[in-house]
Amino acid sequence: MTESRTSRPGTAGREAAPRYRGWIGQVTRSPLYAGTIGVLAASPRARLVLLVIVPLAWIVTFNIGPIYQMGRISLMQTYPAPDSGAVLTLDNYRLFFREPLYFMPFIRSLIFAALVTVVTLIVVYPVAYYVAKVIRPQNRKRALLLLLVPFWAGEIIRTFSVIMLLANRGALNYLLREVGLIDRPIPMLYTYFSLSFGVVYLIALYMLLPLYSAIEKIPSQLVDAAADLGAGPFERFRRVILPLSKDGIVSGCSLVYLITIGVFTAPLLLGGPNTVIFPEIIAALFHASNDKWPAGSAFSILMLIVSLSTVGLFMKLVGGRSVRLS
């Protein structure tokens, strides 16, 4: 693929003005087009500029810009900066390490995200395996669709629906009471249980899809071969299926971890005073008056760095994409 697209000799179209029918033809024949895009499209250099400038501007402004601003504000003592000029300081970062009120929720968030990731992996793997390999191929799409439908409901609706199940006067408590197992409702809402239930409910799809596509790609012959060489069901799983679905595991876990660490809706609706995790802390700092913004920015930056580097480390250790099925 080294053929250059721009160096084709003679670009014949330029001298003999192309004729097109329809609206494109009308546009290309108009002097306005010839004077603007036509000129740009005719010159390789202008074309290059046109191709590069908008994407680069977008990426720099809107992808890097906000993070940069956040980083900048995290170093300020107050925001907005006083007229005398901003004083740069690391105090906001120091505050984080000094204050357990901030520090502990952060640790809790990391542990919570890691646990949710592991639980989701364990819960979803057999499901993905079942759909990818056990179900007959002609039924596969339908089985997958059944799992996808709930995810078309938005974050809020899905989180809200968990309340129906777990509330004190929700379905589960009602059922337990009717059966006679309990006299008074078990408080399930606003606990870690409801929080994790809701979070797994939100993110299971992000585990399911990578796992499904990785497992589906494993040639059935390899499993046949393993069985043939004496591997029972467990050894087939351990020696062949698991290592060959590593790509899916790595990307599924990374996605789930990153989403869980920044989860916002679920703690808002399903969490309680005992389940304060870091996103709530950050959000609260931004909801308060401006003077908390620098601290909030610093915490956000910390969270960003820690979560991305955790995932990076994980990918490096487990080694995604090392195996390619030829």
């Binding site: 191709l51 992808n63 078309w152």
Partner: protein, 267 residues
């Protein structure tokens, strides 16, 4: 012959796997079904059991100006987001797919950044950003936030399709006398159509569903998720369930149609 389960799979693991699937399906569908059921409850508070049923909540919701306003507002934001995100996303994808551009891998990685950054941080950084640029919170800010988040997904989808496009197509178009822009409109865009359709549906659904960005960037006018959230906070009644059920059914219908559509265009 092409299934692991062909013959030597003993029944036990197969049953266990199938059980895990169905339990998972129930886990996914149960809360939503409960929520839908509750929307028919004839009482003004949410609690099981449901003794008598009614359609009143739907009647109420469908006449609720606030709800209808939020629907319109959400759709408006979704459409604007989709249009901008498609243009920018295709543009970035073209750049990443072009040959001889220095640092393409880097550009691609940075283009994907908003999809990797945890949602809350993404939202907060945008909040800071618009404040720095003195953009007021509200419609414009929401559209910007949604677009920034949607663009990486468009880039990835378009890029996948673009990479499978035979070079000969655009070359042929240029041999026939098309300048690059015309070749792009006449050849590349039609070829990208399935990816564009998929991206558009993704943009629309994710914008309508989005909560965290809207939460930080929104003004006084609520989008659908914001409205539902406010109602949940303000004391729950089956009215919310009716609202959520309507939204759920419409988005699921769009999603199912999209699924059907993309499957057909792949065949």
């Amino acid at each position: 012959m092409n299934s692991f389960a062909s013959r030597y799979f003993t029944d036990l693991p197969k049953t266990a796997l199938s059980a895990s699937y169905w339990i998972f399906v129930i886990y996914l569908l149960l809360p939503l079904s409960l929520m839908m059921a509750m929307s028919f409850k004839e009482a003004s508070f949410i609690a099981f059991p449901i003794q008598s049923w009614t359609l009143d909540w739907y009647a109420k919701v469908l006449q609720d100006q606030q709800f209808l306003g939020a629907v319109g507002y959400s759709i408006f934001i979704a459409v604007a987001t989709t249009v901008i995100a498609l243009i920018i996303g295709v543009w970035i994808a073209l750049l990443v797919a072009a040959e001889g551009i220095w640092g393409r891998a880097m550009i691609f990685a940075l283009a994907c950044l908003p999809a990797v950054v945890p949602g809350l941080i993404n939202a907060i950084s945008m909040r800071i950003f618009i404040r720095v640029l003195d953009i007021p919170t509200g419609t414009g800010a929401i559209i910007l936030g949604h677009t920034v988040h949607a663009v990486p997904f468009v880039v990835v989808m378009v890029l996948t399709r673009l990479r499978s496009m035979p070079h000969s197509l655009t070359d042929a178009a240029r041999d026939l006398g098309a300048d690059n822009f015309v070749a792009f409109l006449r050849v590349t865009v039609p070829y990208l159509a399935p990816a564009l359709a998929g991206s558009a549906i993704f943009c629309v659904l994710s914008s309508i569903d989005d909560f965290v960005r809207t939460f930080f960037l929104g003004g006084y006018q609520p989008t659908l998720p914001m409205l539902i959230f406010a109602k949940v906070q303000g004391g729950m009644s089956p009215e919310i369930n009716a609202m959520a059920t309507i939204v759920l059914i419409v988005t699921a219908a769009v999603g199912l149609y999209a699924e059907h559509f993309t499957r057909r265009s792949k065949a």
